[in-house]
């Protein structure tokens, strides 16, 4: 038993520095290195009997093992908290939504009636509203965010790049309620007095989609403000994947005679498409759960928007606005929570997708962001 270990030690030493780095996980309960040394020393001095070695190992191991095992289990308890928290979130949503799930089944998704007095509930209006706001936000945010990311990664002068990147990241942290207040004070009057009449008088003459009464509140204002909110997130994550494009790729493009713009747009940008998709998906998830700013700006009227100037309602703003009245009626509150459950499921799917894409690209380093506010 001692002989093979002896050989192993020798062979490891003889390989010297060319040994591949040890990447075994820390928890790997290796036999104590001290012990191996002791054993080796014993093996060199005098051939030990089998029993001496066994006793030696058992003594040190039983001491260590007991405390290590306790430690192992104690730590695992910490992980169980996370499982418990997830179970609480999912459990509360499913259990409290159950009366509605049971009563309406799948038809809940495409029913557009929402009548608490007659006890008929359907998600369609709110689903459409949510996707309208998210869609407007993303159409506005994605091109700007990606181009800004290109500016941050390639075009910004070197003395400026640290400053502007930090600025962008810090602005991502402004709370949602501040965006909402800004929207009411600034965006709504701007929309009402300038943008919406202009839209109605130009595009609105040909397409009903752009016409409507200029109210200031509605899916357009909400979408724009959410878009502003999402830009820093998408831009920062895209920038992070742009700077990971290998230098060789860049230099090869230059060596083939491309100009800087050709390198950036035709070589670098296509190389990070998975990263861009990932960041857009994260932005989508963020916009989806956005609550307070939307609640203040969308007009909160349960109707399916047909024009970009219409008012509407999103799932999250409905919950924040009416949930405290809805709890009086079990079916009403269950229907609202089922809406929340739909939002939760979409958010989880979207975030998992974005996370997987970006993790694959960045090798495990990903800053978390909490959706909504």
């Amino acid at each position: 038993m001692a002989a093979p270990e002896h050989e192993q030690g020798d062979s490891l030493l003889s390989q010297g520095d060319h040994r591949p780095p040890v990447v075994a996980p820390l928890s790997f309960l290796a036999p104590d290195p001290d012990e191996t040394l002791e054993e080796q020393a014993l093996a060199r001095s005098a051939p030990p009997t089998e029993t001496t070695l066994k006793n030696l190992r058992r003594a040190s191991h039983s001491q260590i093992l007991r405390s290590e095992r306790l430690f192992h289990l104690t730590l695992r308890l910490g992980g169980l908290f996370i499982l418990l928290l997830f179970a609480i979130v999912l459990g509360v949503s499913v259990v409290e939504a159950w009366p509605s799930i049971e009563k309406f089944g799948w038809s809940f998704l495409w029913t557009s009636t929402w009548n608490p007095h007659r006890h008929i509930f359907g998600a369609w209006t709110y689903l459409v509203g949510t996707f309208w706001v998210t869609g407007i936000a993303l159409i506005f945010a994605i091109p700007i965010a990606i181009l800004s990311a290109l500016f941050l990664s390639d075009y910004a002068p070197k003395w400026l790049v640290g400053g502007v990147s930090t600025l962008m990241e810090m602005l991502a942290g402004i709370p949602s309620i501040v965006f909402g207040a800004f929207g009411i004070i600034f965006v709504v009057p701007l929309m009402r007095d300038h943008v919406e009449p202009f839209l109605a008088n130009t595009l609105g003459r040909h397409f009903d989609f752009f016409s409507g009464d200029a109210m200031g509140y509605g899916i357009l204002s909400a979408g724009l403000v959410v878009g502003i909110m999402v830009i820093p997130l998408v831009a920062t994550v895209t920038r992070d994947s742009l700077v990971m494009v290998p230098r060789e790729t860049v230099e090869a493009a230059y060596a083939l005679g491309s100009t800087k713009a050709e390198m950036v747009y035709f070589v670098k940008l296509p190389a990070v498409v998975p990263g861009i998709i990932g960041s857009v998906i994260l932005g989508f998830g963020r916009a989806l759960g956005e609550t307070m700013a939307v609640l203040l700006l969308i007009g909160n009227q349960a109707s399916v928007p047909t024009s970009i100037q219409d008012v509407g309602y999103t799932i999250s703003s409905l919950l924040a606005n009416t949930f405290t009245y809805a709890v009086i009626d079990p079916l009403f509150s269950a229907a609202e929570i089922e809406l929340g459950l739909i939002l939760l499921v979409i958010s989880l799917v979207v975030n998992t997708l974005g996370r997987e894409l970006l993790l694959k690209l960045m090798g495990g380093r990903l800053a978390g962001s909490v959706g909504g506010g």
């Binding site: 780095p21 820390l26 928890s27 104590d32 290195p33 405390s67 290590e68 430690f71 192992h72 730590l75 695992r76 308890l77 908290f81 996370i82 928290l85 509360v92 949503s93 409290e96 965010a145 990606i146 181009l147 800004s148 290109l150 500016f151 390639d154 962008m168 810090m170 602005l171 942290g173 402004i174 709370p175 949602s176 309620i177 501040v178 207040a181 009411i184 004070i185 600034f186 502003i228 830009i231 820093p232 831009a235 713009a261 950036v264 989806l288 609550t291 307070m292 999250s316 949930f323 405290t324 709890v327 929340g340 958010s347 979207v350 975030n351 998992t352 978390g368 962001s369 909490v370 506010g373």
Partner: protein, 300 residues
Amino acid sequence: MAEARLPEKGLSYYRQIRNIVLGSITGLAFLVAVTPLLAIIYVAYDRGKEALSLSFVTTMPSGFPVGIEGGILNGIAGSLILIVLASLLSVPVGVWAGLYLWDQSHTRLAGVTRLLSDLLLGVPSVIWGVVGFYVFSTNTGWGLHWGFSGLAAGLTLGFIMIPIVTRVTEQALRDVPRSYIEGALALGATRFQVMRDLAIPAAITGIGTGILLGVLNVLGQTAPLVFTNYYNTGIPHSLVGSNGSVGDLAMQIFIYIHEPSKALHVKAMAAALVLTVIVLLLDMGIRLLSWGSRKYARKG
């Protein structure tokens, strides 16, 4: 990335012009992206400056409707109470879970835990509000029956913080050089000793950063408070029960901006500026902290 300026003579005009145009577009887009964000701070200052003074942050709201005179001390105090409560729950739990994920990172249970912790990061804040309502606030059915109260809201915010603290703690521990750990293990330290005497001291700045990042993320949260706390114009004597609601800066902005009153809108914008400044200062502090620790790590 250092790049020599290329000689662009001899290129066709089309390519030269395209080079300039495509390049300038990115700069323009950056301006379009940053201007509204800076405009928010400017508009908050511009519309709120009438109300801004030192006494704005040191006096309680008064007048009718409440808040039309006086300041936002109830909101600041309430936000502080909520952050302390949230940290009391999330720091021990989050750090504990982070230690677990780091130490037993290869096990299947840890893989599942990590996935769920990342999924929790993406849970929308209204859902956290609903969960907090049923676990802490509701007075019917199961749950803790604490009513709309500071404790309910604080612990709900704590729920939101837990996955953030977990994630950053694990990352900070992973940044401790592997050779330190292996060296200690080779000297015969147990894993508990390695964690207590080596990994945690080495990662303490990172863990602190994670806690502050969590605080930053819950500081402006409004939606969960609508479900669990709502608002109080004063400072409560108790944090549980029907009189247990606390004031909150974000909630205060929401309520003021919802009122059809010019004077309250001014107060709301001033409060929004205060909240934004607090958030940006905290953000800057986190950056300095992690920048300092990175510099230290490079020296070491």
